[in-house]
């Protein structure tokens, strides 16, 4: 029986997306949620991004990823539980997923040209939000196929929260024909292909080419042309992705560290999600330092002087960290009223095996609390 907001989310949502700054524990939380859902009877898939090698190993994923792999039931043996539904995991290879997408939507005779074009390279790797977009597009695809009752998505470390939320719009923008038409208009009309540096807009374009050189603009327009054949398919998907994010069966899990100095990032993310009408099912505050108890201090006082000094020094340090975390959590709570907040302690060691994922899950679902 779960007592946190993640319980109902695990049993009802079709897609959960873990977001937050780098290193806060998104991958850990994503893997944990999928594990719990499977054990509790919903077939689930966790789509991880750059998991630690040991974590990948313990999920039965080898170095070559991008394929959905069933986690062997033997992997769950140490837990003493059997999953009531299968657990799948994959490592998302974003470049490969982009290439697959193009292969799927591009007219066959254009594929190679597009894949080799350097604007495609920048669209698929460097454009702000493109990594985020392809991750979401993958989930949309998985969701459409409907093989899993629950898909949990981990997300790449995003420099700006907005890059993430805006990603579908940016891709739609990229396909915005209006701009391409403007650049190419007279040439298209004349039935040939080239840059119209000398028409009405030529003045602006000539100035622009001072930056980029004319060849760059030529190449961009040629790329836009080759894309135009697949615009509709592409757009439809991007619209689908955007709709999926707002869908009632999709929920966001916002992961954050409890550190007061970093709280602004989580609060900002939460505000943006709300503005975009996306549902945050829970705020997970990960790696919280619990406050040393009175009993611990009393116990420490019974030790021999040198040991007592060492232990008390350690408790004092923990006290500072716990108080710091307490301030951060209070800030977060005040800034995000009405959103359930779940705390996970900092464990002694990294969370890289099934047993420690399970332990993390006990906090996420409220079996254990501080």
């Amino acid at each position: 029986m779960s007592t946190t907001a993640l319980g109902p989310a695990l049993s009802k949502k079709r897609v959960l997306i873990c977001v937050g700054s780098g290193g806060v524990g998104k991958t850990t939380v994503a893997a944990t949620l999928a594990l719990r859902a499977a054990v509790d009877g919903r077939g689930s898939l966790v789509c991880t991004i750059d998991p630690a090698k040991r974590l990948a190993n313990s999920l039965g994923l080898s170095a070559l990823g991008n394929a959905e792999t069933q986690v062997p039931s033997s992997a769950l043996e140490p837990l003493g539980v059997t999953a009531r539904a299968p657990l799948h995991a994959m490592m998302l290879d974003m470049k490969q997923t982009w290439d697959d997408l193009i292969t799927r939507v591009a007219p066959p005779d254009q594929r190679e040209r597009i894949l080799a074009n350097r604007f495609y390279q920048s669209l698929s790797t460097a454009l702000a939000g493109s990594q985020e977009y392809i991750a979401m597009e993958k989930v949309w695809e998985l969701r459409r196929k409907g093989e899993y009752e629950l898909v949990v998505l981990d997300t790449p470390p995003t420099a700006h929260a907005l890059d993430f939320l805006d990603a579908p719009n940016r891709v739609l923008d990229f396909l915005d024909n209006e701009a391409a038409k403007w650049l190419l208009a007279p040439a298209l009309k004349a039935g040939k292909f080239g840059l119209s540096l000398f028409n009405r807009s030529g003045y602006v374009l000539r100035a622009l080419s001072k930056f980029t050189g004319t060849e760059m603009l030529q190449e961009l327009s040629s790329f836009m042309l080759s894309l135009s054949g697949m615009n509709e398919g592409f757009r439809e998907r991007a619209r689908g992705v955007r709709a999926l994010l707002e869908d009632a069966t999709t929920g966001f899990v916002l992961v954050t560290s409890p550190h007061p100095e970093r709280m602004d990032e989580a609060i900002h993310f939460n505000t943006l999600l709300k503005q975009h009408r996306m549902e945050v099912v829970a705020l997970v505050v990960n790696r919280v330092h619990p406050l040393p108890t009175e009993a611990m201090w009393a116990d420490a006082a019974t030790l021999t002087p040198t040991r007592r000094a060492k232990v008390e020094e350690t408790l004092r340090e923990l006290q500072v960290l716990a108080e710091q975390d307490g301030r951060g959590i209070a800030q977060l709570q005040a800034a995000c009223p009405g959103i359930p907040l779940i705390q996970v302690p900092r464990f002694g060691l990294d969370v890289h095996d099934i047993t420690s994922l399970w332990q993390t899950g006990r906090y996420l679902l409220g079996d254990d609390t501080f």
Partner: protein, 304 residues
């Protein structure tokens, strides 16, 4: 070992959240204290360094924080504008071109143009001179983006030189590349934590900087280290106190991880590793940066 003061561009990078801005702030402060006119650059992010040093945010303009120390948050829009004005020379022309909606659209998709102008602004300040012919800034500390982004950011000049047809962009790129690869100018400082992933990322970053960008790793900083405190005998003696044992064991485990991480970095980077202990302060501000700076003395000033 020679100190960083021999170099002019100090590039600080590592995994997200490991303490890049902390280390960049400490290094910049030390450089300024050594009498070098120092500029510390953050790249299009939530500004941290001015805040750590307890000054108002610098924003996108180079701003004097204190004696010998300037800061700037290099942002794409402003950097693009400065670059645009440099090429086009006239404000009015710039406006017609750059404030055109469709042009803005194209600029977003020109591969690497954004990175190029961001890096371009930093490189411009590196070469900027005072009227008397001295450098405007003796030292520039670059608080670079996290690993993956840092690699693509710093590789931009190389990539452009190789792929872009001759033109203004490729000429700019060539100039930047020459400065970045010059070991007498540029040095990288890689930051890690005593944990598996941050250490692995530092090693990846080292390899990528060496092979793709040709920047040498000058040193690594192992931040938030936990010094050894409990001996095996201590732990054994605590067995009868389960709660305290858990606390001591966790501390001991982290200390062992610190040793392992230090060894792994040293072996693979062939560069010195400087250890900065985890600090326990109620707030992380100027005091913290001063303490971190104390641990990086030999990194900046060189071994006596």
């Amino acid at each position: 070992m020679a100190g960083l003061l021999d170099k002019r561009l100090w590039v600080v990078s590592g995994k997200g959240g490991v303490g890049k801005s902390t280390v960049a702030a400490a290094l910049a402060l030390r450089s300024a204290r050594a009498g070098r006119r120092t500029l510390v650059c953050e790249v299009n992010t939530q500004e941290r360094i001015s805040r750590f040093l307890e000054h108002p945010a610098a924003g996108p303009e180079v701003t004097l924080l204190e004696e010998n120390l300037w800061a700037v948050d290099v942002r794409p829009q402003e950097a693009m504008r400065e670059y645009g004005l440099m090429v086009l020379r006239f404000e009015a022309l710039y406006k017609t071109v750059f404030e055109n909606r469709l042009v803005r659209y194209f600029l977003r998709f020109i591969p690497s143009l954004q990175e190029l102008v961001l890096l371009g602004k930093i490189m411009y300040h590196l070469q900027e001179k005072l009227p008397d012919g001295r450098w405007r800034f003796d030292t520039i500390v670059l608080d670079a983006p996290a690993t993956g982004h840092a690699i693509s950011f710093l590789s931009v000049p190389h990539v452009l030189v190789q792929t872009v047809p001759q033109g203004p962009m490729s000429r700019e790129a060539q100039k930047m590349r020459d400065l970045l690869v010059d070991p007498s100018v540029t040095a990288a400082v890689l930051v890690a934590l005593p944990e598996e992933m941050p250490v692995n990322e530092a090693l990846e970053l080292h390899a990528a900087l060496k092979d793709k960008v040709h920047i040498r790793t000058h040193a690594a900083v192992l931040n938030q280290s936990i010094p050894e405190r409990f001996t095996e005998a201590d732990l054994e003696a605590l067995v009868g106190h389960p709660e305290l044992h858990r606390v001591a064991q966790a501390n001991h485990d982290r200390a062992s991880l610190t040793v392992l991480a230090g060894t792994k970095l040293e072996r693979n980077l062939h560069a010195p590793v400087f250890t900065v202990p985890r600090l326990y302060l109620p707030t992380f501000g100027r005091d913290a940066i001063e303490q971190v700076m104390g641990h990086l003395e030999a990194l900046v000033m060189g071994e006596k």
